[in-house]
């Protein structure tokens, strides 16, 4: 999937903040916990979702632009902690230049108004997290190279790394797990 490099790098930075690589968790719980959303291409899932959920407007690009404005605002306010030099950042994304923590802070500054709808950027900000988390923990990344094939041609090629991280065994046909009935029959 091709996208404007600045849009891509900005939304990658967002996914990386919401579901980061976690070496400390890997140290505590095992190597499988090390990787995060980017390993599973969730930035691509997020971009696709932003471009398809709202009527006929593709929102990935304007959302990335807003994140970048918010990031510059955070930097100008002096509220950003350690920050890379935006000029040095690949593709000129100030948002991507922020630390993971500051990126999450920047989201709260998404500028008003958007599409003349003051609620709208709040809805977008909220959706960014929902899309990313659902995309990561669902089977989506397991579709591998077929992830953008027509829906009926997608094939689950791999077990998503997220499933291994949470030890979800995947779909089962049955579980021998019945522990009886607390009430056999309800009464009037």
């Amino acid at each position: 999937m091709y996208y404007n490099p600045k849009v891509k790098v900005t939304l990658e930075a967002l996914v990386d903040a919401i579901i980061p690589n976690t070496p400390r968790l890997a140290f505590e719980q095992g190597a499988i916990q090390a990787v995060g959303g980017l390993y599973s291409h969730i930035d691509e899932y997020l971009i696709w979702s932003l471009d398809h959920f709202y009527s006929n407007l593709a929102l990935a690009s304007p959302t990335a632009e807003l994140l970048d404005i918010a990031a510059r605002q955070l930097i100008e306010m002096g509220a950003a902690g350690k920050c890379l030099d935006p000029a040095a950042c690949p593709n000129g994304s100030s948002f991507a230049a922020l630390s993971q923590k500051d990126r999450l802070k920047a989201i709260t500054l998404l500028p008003f108004p958007y599409q003349n709808n003051p609620i709208f950027n709040q809805i977008i900000a909220d959706a960014l997290d929902r899309f990313t988390v659902f995309g990561y923990y669902s089977e989506w990344s397991g579709y591998g190279v077929t992830r953008f094939a027509p829906f009926e041609e997608r094939k689950l090629e791999d077990i998503p790394v997220s499933w291994k991280q949470v030890r979800y065994p995947g779909k089962a046909y049955r579980y021998h797990a019945l522990r009886g009935y607390l009430v056999d029959k309800f009464t009037e």
Binding site: A17, I18, I19, T22, L25, Q33, S49, H52, F53, Y54, S55, K101, L104, K105, I107, T108, L110, I119, N121, Q122, I123, I124, A125, D126, A127, R130, V133, F134, G135, Y136, Y137, S138, E139, W140, P150, F151, E152, R154, L156, S162, Q165, V166, Y168, P169, K171, A172, R174, Y175, A177, L178, R179, G180, Y181, L182, V183, D184, K185, F186, T187, E188
Partner: protein, 555 residues
């Protein structure tokens, strides 16, 4: 006038197929119009890719093999809000979902398609709390009982089975001092299995040698209620009783019911009758594949499009103004509270180190609390589980407080040792909570609904109280960590009361201002039932409405 049917029903969700089955059994000719696809029907073998046939009226068209192929058990394939098979949108997944405007953070979670939102519901079918109906509704609770009984026998409804996660929930509820309830008519706080519309597992399910075969009868405790159940020997006997597999096959069996999926009703057609006054005479619809419009006529029209679309359709049809159309929206002001357990605690209690949210029915235990609402346990596959618990909370401007980053990954690493609960609040009907038409945004079906909901101070207090109760149950069960998601008020999983009985309709659910126009969905409920899940009550009322409309117009 020539009629296309005696009765046209708009919507094949929780309510419409109930009316269709009841009318069909009384010999009434029915046409059901559904905006979304029809899964598991041979006339639409590629339900998401090709327009297929125009209609189906034959039970032989239902095909379990096809349903099993379409319901893949994968949560993005089934439940992605944008492209999933269960979404509010056209059958063609290459097109975007149908847009709704919100005046706040959140989203409505509904499904188009034969079965409607029951396609992914958890099957929970409790009755209303008598306290919320008696001396509140325009009809008494006892009036509902025979209709409850009929629906409970038809679906059927039974106490849900326990797996580890339910045993843990019940243990906590008992330790917190609540009694076990075994009644259908709940008047006092207590815990009980969910009364649910899921066929019971085969009693031999725990026998490792028991051959399930390819097509077992009853639930297999596999945890995919939400992703679309397809377990059973035939479509009509699939374990989770969405209306796709319960009332719709029964309706087809009468030989009197025809169903057209992919048919979005855009307008109620009406005329002024010299004696009756304004009356409904049919509908205008749009085929969602071809984009073509058409009209269909009937003696009676039943709106069953849900609490968001039914008022939208009324407003887009320029029917007479009524100050209560679209007003009074309640949504049970959900929240989510969970506990994480240590392995040894679970081992001592359950004899297993994990509670396993993906095993068992998605929600099989509850604590009822008339006056406040209720707390239900739940468990699901990880994408939906993580979303409800860790990504629905707060709003955009509280982003740093969400569970994100390393914390989210830590919490999800404890997935198999997490017991989660949902809170359902007995929220007040307030006319300022509403469905109106968006003044700007239109789609191919007209101005889109604009949704607005603010909980009252009392609603917030009740939710906080239920959250404390849920946390107490989890702690008493031995949880070492408690998480409260703190959902924003704009998440609409249950929606009701936007066309209330006594305000928009009479007690027969016929519109006061438009004769021959009835309502049979959650919009006609007088209130949020005190907290209980609305489907059973809507189905009981729909059963009653079918009877009333025949008495009045078709005898």
């Amino acid at each position: 006038m020539t009629y296309d049917a005696d009765v046209i029903i708009i919507g094949a969700g929780g309510g419409g197929p109930v009316v269709a089955k009841e009318l069909g059994e009384l010999g009434v000719k029915v046409l059901v119009l559904e905006a979304g696809p029809w899964y598991g029907n041979k006339k639409w073998p590629n339900a998401n890719n090709a327009s297929g046939a125009e209609s189906s009226s034959c039970i032989e068209d239902l095909d379990l093999g096809l349903l099993t192929k379409q319901f893949t058990d994968y949560e993005a394939d089934m439940n992605d809000l944008i492209s999933g098979k269960f979404r509010w949108g056209p059958a063609d997944r290459n097109r975007n979902p149908w847009f709704r405007s919100l005046a706040q953070t959140g989203f409505p979670w509904q499904c188009s398609g034969v079965g409607g939102t029951t396609l992914h519901y958890w099957g929970n079918s409790p009755r209303a709390y008598p306290l919320a109906v008696d001396n509140v509704w325009p009809i008494p609770y006892r009036e509902l009982i025979p209709y409850y009984q009929k629906v409970e026998a038809t679906l059927p409804v039974h106490p849900a089975p326990m797996t580890a996660k339910e045993e843990l929930f019940f243990y906590g509820a008992r330790k917190a001092g609540y009694p076990l309830l075994s009644t259908l008519n709940v008047t006092n706080p207590g815990y009980r299995p969910q009364p649910n519309a899921i066929l019971r597992p085969d009693p031999r399910i725990n026998d490792p040698d028991f051959p399930f075969g390819e097509k077992p009868a009853g639930c297999t405790l596999r945890g995919h209620c939400v992703n679309g159940c397809h377990i059973g020997p035939s479509v009509a006997k699939v374990a989770k009783r969405s209306t796709l597999v319960s009332y719709m096959p029964l309706a087809l069996e009468t030989g009197m019911v025809k169903v057209r999926p992919n048919t979005f009703v855009t307008k109620i057609l009406s005329e002024n009758h010299p004696q009756e006054g304004m009356q409904a005479i049919g509908v205008q619809f749009r085929n969602t594949w071809s984009g073509e419009f058409g009209e269909l006529k009937a003696k009676v029209v039943v709106m069953a499009a849900g609490a968001i679309e039914t008022p939208r359709l009324w407003l887009n049809s320029a029917l007479p103004p009524n100050p209560w159309v679209g007003k009074g929206l309640t949504n049970h002001y959900f929240d989510c509270v969970a506990g994480i357990f240590d392995e040894n605690v679970l081992m001592n209690l359950l004899g297993t180190p994990e509670a396993n949210p993906f095993v068992g029915q998605n929600s099989a235990a509850r604590l009822d609390y008339p006056g406040l609402g209720f707390v239900g346990n739940f468990g699901m596959s990880p994408g939906l589980f993580a979303s409800l618990l860790y990504a629905f909370g707060q709003d955009g401007h509280n982003f740093p407080h969400k569970s994100v980053g390393e914390q989210l990954k830590y919490l999800m690493s404890q997935y198999r040792r997490t017991l989660s609960t949902l809170i359902f609040v007995d929220d007040e009907v307030n006319p300022q909570n509403e469905i109106t038409l968006d003044p700007v945004f239109k789609d191919e079906h007209g101005p889109v609904p604009l949704i607005r909901y603010r909980p009252s101070k009392k609603d917030k207090e009740k939710r906080d109280q239920l959250a404390r109760i849920a946390a107490d149950i989890l702690r008493k069960a031995g949880a070492k960590e408690i998480i409260r998601a703190n959902w924003p008020p704009g998440i609409f999983i249950h929606s009701h009361n936007t066309m209330r009985m006594g305000y928009v309709t009479d007690t027969n659910c016929e519109a006061y201002q438009v004769k021959r126009l009835f309502i049979a969905d959650n919009s006609v409920l007088y209130n949020g039932l005190g907290g209980p899940n609305p489907t059973l009550t809507t189905q009981a009322l729909a059963t009653r409405t079918a009877e009333k409309l025949v008495e009045k117009y078709l005898k």
